[in-house]
């Protein structure tokens, strides 16, 4: 197959390392050159879009620690039990979540350093936590985004994993904060006796013992670390490893509740002491620093060759193809091992590969709903004044930010999103957005000014060039011509602000725009 042209390479970069091109982006990239663009994308210098940075500063909950966030949501609250008071409490509790979602959308749409945002989305799903967990999630996740995901997204995976393992949001989401050394038979008998004496009821005593028995080791997080965060499902580890890791992680919790500090806490009284064996390696108990055992285990997992291969496969799948070429995965795995999981190095190795640039993978990846919505916003340069509408649209399509119930995070492959019926939602969104029906998300009025007003038959081509610069297929071109003809047959004075939105809506819903 023919190698990609210079223009196609630029389009490919903007599709995979950014949320698609804004109208001016393609020309700018071509002028700047691939290499310098990439360097800029991977640089850790401050974001060039200063206006955005300044606007994000106004979102006062973004940089709060969990505890500050807790105090913020509880401040000025008088709950007299009335419906009105309860509504106010709920509203205030929702602010951190809303501001976080607003910040992430703005960054995805407006930031110059797009790759950082695309990578953050990858890690957010790789190390998923979710507001749907309820309870304290609402005060924990802004901090998680900042101190786990964003802080390390252009750093090392090992650091990110370790940060996630000590973050209240993760410990809460995967129930590790409840995991403790299980009660012994003797302790259970004591509970039973105590309750039976107090209540005089035998069945209540038994019930209390059953409940106490259920409070013990929680394997959930230990399993997911290995299955989802590091080694991949059933790779290298067995059930006994899950138990060993879960035991080592007992007591990794946080100080919650209304009087807590909402910070990580290691609780000796919940910890299961003793030597443990993980993946065949003995980890000695450390009486002085009992948390060290678990830390050493998580670190070993981060450095494991299975992790290098699993994370590399996921990155290749995310950036290149749903079924990534094994040669590419191998290459990335090598880079991972050599740099101890340095993320920019893995990306550089990706860009240096033939597979990344192969025509076979060019615009061959189906956009997730999130990517679809963000790329539509960028292509149209929209002004967003009501971010709840963005949340609603993502909700409708099944991918609101930080709302994935499943610890797998949202999937990034086509088959996860191509259920019958799904396309209809995209079409409705496309027609609504282009037609100005979504109050609070608007296409700037001058968007259609650059069209050659005198030659309406060319409008579809100009708009295609903006929205799908890789070009539209014959069927799409024909369909757009049909609409143009229908319009011109009835319009006395063709108006680009009437036909334009129609064409844009159809382009956003076209098969071509679903691909990146």
């Amino acid at each position: 197959m023919e190698p990609l042209s210079r223009k196609e390479r630029a389009i490919h970069l903007l599709n995979r390392f950014a949320y698609g091109p804004r109208p001016e982006d393609l020309d700018m990239l071509l002028e700047q050159g691939e290499k310098s663009w990439l360097e800029e994308q991977l640089s850790s210098a401050p974001e060039p879009n200063r206006a955005l940075t300044a606007q994000l500063k106004e979102l006062e909950t973004l940089d709060l620690t969990p505890h500050e966030c807790f105090e913020y949501t509880e401040a000025d609250q008088e709950n007299d039990g009335s419906e009105e008071a309860r509504r106010k409490v709920r509203e205030r509790q929702n602010i951190p979540r809303q501001q976080l979602s607003q910040a992430l959308v703005r960054r995805a749409v407006e930031k110059e350093r797009q790759l950082e945002e695309v990578l953050c989305d990858f890690w957010r799903n790789h190390l998923n936590v979710s507001f749907t967990k309820g309870n304290q999630a609402r005060i924990l996740i802004s901090d998680y985004e900042r101190t786990v995901v964003r802080r390390h997204t252009l750093g090392n995976f090992e650091d990110m994993l370790m940060a996630s393992a000590e973050h209240p949001a993760m410990l809460h989401y995967l129930d590790n904060h409840l995991s403790r050394k299980p009660p012994t038979e003797q302790e259970l008998r004591d509970v039973e006796r105590r309750v039976r004496r107090r209540t005089g009821s035998r069945s209540q005593g038994e019930e209390a013992a059953t409940i106490a028995g259920q409070k013990g080791l929680n394997e959930n997080y230990a399993r997911e670390i290995m299955e989802l965060h590091t080694l991949g499902v059933d790779n290298y580890y067995k059930q006994k490893d899950v138990i060993a890791l879960a035991e080592a992680l007992t007591g990794w919790t946080f100080s919650g509740g209304s009087r807590g500090t909402h910070a990580f806490e290691f609780r000796k009284d919940m910890h299961d002491f003793g030597d443990k064996r993980l993946l065949g390696k003995i980890f000695k108990e450390d009486k002085e620093h009992p948390q060290a055992q678990g830390l050493a285990m998580v670190q070993m997992l981060a450095r494991h060759k299975g992790t290098a291969a699993f994370v590399s496969m996921k990155l290749a799948r995310f950036f290149v193809a749903d079924v990534p070429p094994p040669s590419l995965v191998k290459r990335l795995t090598k880079a991972y091992k050599k740099t101890k999981g340095n993320i920019p190095s893995i990306i550089q190795s990706l860009v240096a590969s033939e597979e990344f640039w192969s025509r076979e993978h060019y615009r061959a990846k189906f956009k997730t709903p999130y990517e679809f919505v963000m790329s539509a916003f960028r292509a149209l340069n929209v002004d967003i004044s009501d971010f709840s509408k963005v949340h609603r649209a993502l909700m409708d399509m099944g991918q609101p930010i930080y709302h994935c119930d499943d610890p797998t995070g949202y999937y990034d492959t086509a088959e996860s999103w191509l259920d019958p019926g799904v396309m209809a939602l995209r079409w409705e969104f496309a027609l609504g957005l282009a037609g100005g029906k979504v109050k609070g998300i608007e296409i700037p009025p001058n968007y259609y000014d650059s069209l050659p007003q005198e030659v309406p038959r060319l409008w579809q081509h100009y708009l295609t060039e903006h929205i799908v610069p890789s070009g539209a297929g014959k069927r799409t071109r024909n369909a757009l011509s049909t609409i143009t003809n229908q319009y011109l047959a009835k319009a006395r004075v063709p108006d680009s602000r009437v036909l334009g939105p129609e064409l844009v809506g159809l382009l956003l819903g076209s098969p071509e725009f679903q691909q990146q």
């Binding site: 209540q204 499943d406 610890p407 088959e415 191509l418 019926g421 939602l425 014959k474 024909n478």
Partner: protein
């Protein structure tokens, strides 16, 4: 965790005429096929209505003569003089459900008391997951029980319109390998039909594959085009059934009734629809639940009247239809200080329809004393909810869940059918 979406979805795309040259992974196919390969023995349908939020079943199937009940619920408790529909000497229906009296009398209504999950969680999130995946406490199961049924009974060349949910997102019970149509409500209106028409030329509806079209060169692009095509065709078919269908009753104005009206049209058309999932939200009555008046009553009246009309509308089709009304957990035995109730444990279910052994209360009742209550505060669970699901699958669809269909489960017997 099993990989979620792979082969059978591809297999579906293939049987639906979307041959795109995929290779199928044999091992996972074996899991969805041979281990549970069953043929459906009976033409029937199941409409599964989920009351989100933990509905207070104690105020739906009411022990209206129980003194302990009344002292625990001094303001929201219901008595005979409040209009409770007496079912027997012990239980009555909330006045909001009075429309169901005739269903009870014609033995089409089977309430199940003290049903719930063996898991003790009081979190909506966990409890709904566990119930809809029908695997309490087991987080490795990520497919819904209804989807597992569809996957286990799938046949080549069968109707691709076996199941649907009348909402944008599938309920968890319908998520999994088998592709299920989610119908956004806008697709039921004229505007929806217009949207589909606008895109038909783009997605090749009514035309063949265009040779030599450069946009069709890569095979993933192909899948997008064909998924769009299936979307248009199935939704059209649905819209067509709605258009041709007639209602023999007048439904109330709310959203729920409207959706039931659409479901009835499709069921009456005999198009082979087996499973419908429908959520009804808002049952988390921490405050303002009320008794004869209040939010709970308003919702119950809508639920009761709409479902009664739905049964009337179905006519003889009701004989082969089962309606299951469920929720994730019951609520606290005692009312709280806000005229509401908090998250509890044991709840209830309603099984409604033809073939059901109705007109009697199912499930074992435990007294509402400190000894009979769970942890002294909630209704106990005497029936595992999977007992109901298993009997409903068998009774309505002729499908006997094989061992392993519900992980770590030993069947109990209710005799619902």
């Amino acid at each position: 965790m099993k990989s979620n979406h792979s082969p059978s979805r591809r297999d579906f795309l293939r049987t639906a005429g979307l041959t795109a040259g995929f290779t199928l992974c044999p091992s996972s196919l074996a899991l969805s096929r041979s281990s549970f390969s069953w043929t459906k023995k009976k033409p029937g349908s199941l409409v599964c209505i989920y009351l989100r939020g933990g509905a207070d079943f104690l105020n739906m199937i009411v022990p209206y003569r129980d003194d302990a009940y009344h002292s625990a619920r001094p303001t929201i408790g219901l008595r005979k003089e409040d209009g409770v529909v007496e079912l027997d000497s012990k239980f009555g229906l909330h006045p909001g459900l009075s429309a169901w009296e005739s269903l009870w009398k014609s033995k089409k209504l089977a309430p199940v008391v003290m049903v719930g999950s063996p898991h003790t969680t009081r979190s909506h999130f966990d409890a709904q997951d566990f119930m809809e995946f029908a695997a309490p406490g087991d987080r490795s199961v990520r497919t819904g029980w209804l989807n597992r049924y569809l996957a286990a009974t799938q046949k080549k060349g069968a109707s691709e319109f076996r199941a649907m949910a009348l909402q944008k997102l599938l309920p968890r019970s319908l998520r999994g390998n088998y592709p299920v149509l989610a119908v956004p409500s806008s697709m039921e209106k004229k505007r929806g039909a217009k949207t589909l028409s606008r895109f038909e030329e783009f997605y090749g509806v009514g035309g063949g594959v265009m040779e030599g079209d450069e946009s069709m060169m890569d095979r993933d692009g192909d899948v997008v085009v064909k998924s769009g095509k299936v979307t248009i065709e199935t939704l059209r078919r649905y819209q067509d059934l709605l258009e041709k269908g007639k209602s023999s009753v007048k439904y109330p104005g709310g959203n729920f009734g409207k959706k039931l009206q659409s479901i009835a049209k499709v069921l009456k058309s005999g198009s082979g629809l087996e499973i419908v999932g429908l959520d009804y939200g808002g049952w988390d009555d921490h405050a303002g639940q009320g008794g004869v008046e209040g939010n709970h009553h308003t919702r119950l009246a809508d639920l009761g009247n709409s479902l009664k009309l739905f049964c009337d509308d179905l006519g003889p089709v009701l004989d082969t239809t089962t309606i299951l009304v469920m929720t994730e957990f019951g609520r606290t035995f005692r009312e709280n200080g806000n005229s509401g109730t908090d998250h509890g444990h044991g709840g209830g279910m309603f099984v409604l329809g033809g073939g059901v052994r109705g007109g009697r209360i199912h499930g074992k009742w435990r007294s509402l004393t400190s000894d009979g209550l769970y942890q002294g505060r909630d209704l106990a669970v005497t029936t595992d909810f999977r007992d109901v699901l298993a009997e409903v699958l068998h009774g309505s669809l002729g499908f006997e869940p094989p061992k392993g269909f519900f992980p770590n489960y030993s069947p109990g017997h209710l005799n619902l059918y």
